[in-house]
């Protein structure tokens, strides 16, 4: 084999190595994106589930067994669970702001483990994005869902207000 042929062979080897390396990188990145998308679907449903679960609770600890006619009668900051409610055990919660500083880790789902965090604070209806430092008829919940298996962080929020129509 002459030098030219050898050079061709070496060139082929080089191209093949580079191609395979690049392809592998791309395939791995692709796998990661597909995995993130799949886990993202589940993460969104977990965030929505937390919203639904919290929305079944009373608006405030003081409205569980009472009507409240003024904001001053609602729970003041810091919001969170009462002493008789167990940390991160939503089955023991009885009102919406018990989910403030809440964290739950799903370890038993088929695809991956997820961590769900939530924060609750008061907002005004005219500016529902901003936290206010006083009591109002509206509470906003911010939820974050993360997983070690997922690069993305899913964020969701909702507003829950005090009303009952009977």
């Amino acid at each position: 084999m002459n030098t030219g042929q050898t050079l061709f062979s070496i060139g082929a080897l080089l191209i093949l190595s580079l191609t395979i390396l690049k392809m592998n990188n791309f395939l791995l990145a692709n796998d990661s994106v597909m995995q993130d998308s799949k886990l993202g679907l589940l993460a969104v449903s977990l965030a929505t589930s937390l919203i639904e679960e919290a929305s079944k609770k009373a608006f405030d600890a003081n409205t569980v067994a009472n009507g409240v006619a003024a904001c001053s009668l609602l729970t003041n900051y810091p919001l969170g669970r009462n002493a008789d409610e167990i940390k991160d055990s939503s089955a023991t919660f009885d009102d919406f702001d018990d989910y403030n500083d809440f964290h739950y880790r799903y370890t038993h789902l088929p695809l991956a483990a997820f961590d769900v965090y939530s924060k609750v604070y008061y907002v005004e209806p005219n500016n529902p994005e901003e936290k206010v430092g006083y009591r109002t008829w509206h509470k906003k919940m911010e939820i974050i869902v993360t997983s070690e298996s997922m690069k993305d962080t899913i964020k969701m929020s909702t507003i829950y207000s005090y009303w009952h129509f009977r």
């Binding site: 080897l13 679907l41 589930s49 929305s55 089955a91 088929p110």
Partner: protein
């Protein structure tokens, strides 16, 4: 010419062979990846569309544009089981009460697919001819909760006190490369239609 030449030829054959085998092996891997990724995309799309349809319907349990036709929405759920539910609603919001029936078909219906676990999820509207599409659904499991948050054991008849439902949905490929089925899972704990809090 001579021994060196033979060595050259031998060497180039070996190297060429190795290169070829690498290339062919990689090509095989690409084929598998292409197949799997297409399948993965399909199951994700199937999962998303199934979830959206189920959420669209379940949010309307007990709803009717003419509310006097379903005056007591808690009676809208006619029958509920672990993989089946039938309820009244007004899906198209035209003021007429519709009945919606979700149920899983038997595994034997899809014996022609490679996946031994996939089943048809039927959505029957107003008792019409059932329609289904093979979306690779392998699990459609419903868990029911009452007003106090306790689970209600199915089967549950009419007026069973269902206040919320946990919906578990798993979708897999109908066919897979080398029997390696990919799966996607979705869970929703729904407040089963806010209409069930009315009246």
């Amino acid at each position: 010419m001579g021994f060196t030449t033979i060595l050259d030829i031998l060497g180039s054959v070996i190297i060429g062979g190795v290169l070829m085998s690498i290339a062919f092996r990689f090509s095989d891997s690409i084929t598998e990846k292409t197949y799997n990724n297409s399948g993965e995309l399909t199951i994700q799309q199937n999962l998303a569309i199934s979830a959206q349809i189920i959420e669209y319907d379940f949010r309307k349990i007990g709803y009717c544009a003419d509310w006097t036709l379903i005056p007591d929405p808690m009676k809208a759920i006619l029958y509920a089981d672990s993989s089946e539910i039938k309820f009244y609603s007004d899906i198209d919001s035209d003021g007429n009460v519709d009945s919606v029936h979700y149920y899983l078909g038997p595994i034997s219906e899809l014996s022609s697919t490679g996946n031994p676990r996939d089943r048809l999820l039927y959505r029957v509207l107003n008792g019409e001819q059932h329609k289904s599409a093979n979306l690779g659904i392998t699990q459609f499991r419903l868990v029911y909760f009452d007003a106090l948050g306790d689970t209600i054991n199915p089967p549950i008849g009419h007026n069973g006190g269902i206040v919320s439902i946990e919906i578990n949905l798993t979708v897999e490929n109908t066919e897979a490369y080398d029997q390696k089925y990919s799966k996607a899972f979705w869970r929703q704990i729904r407040m089963v239609s806010r209409n069930l809090r009315n009246r």
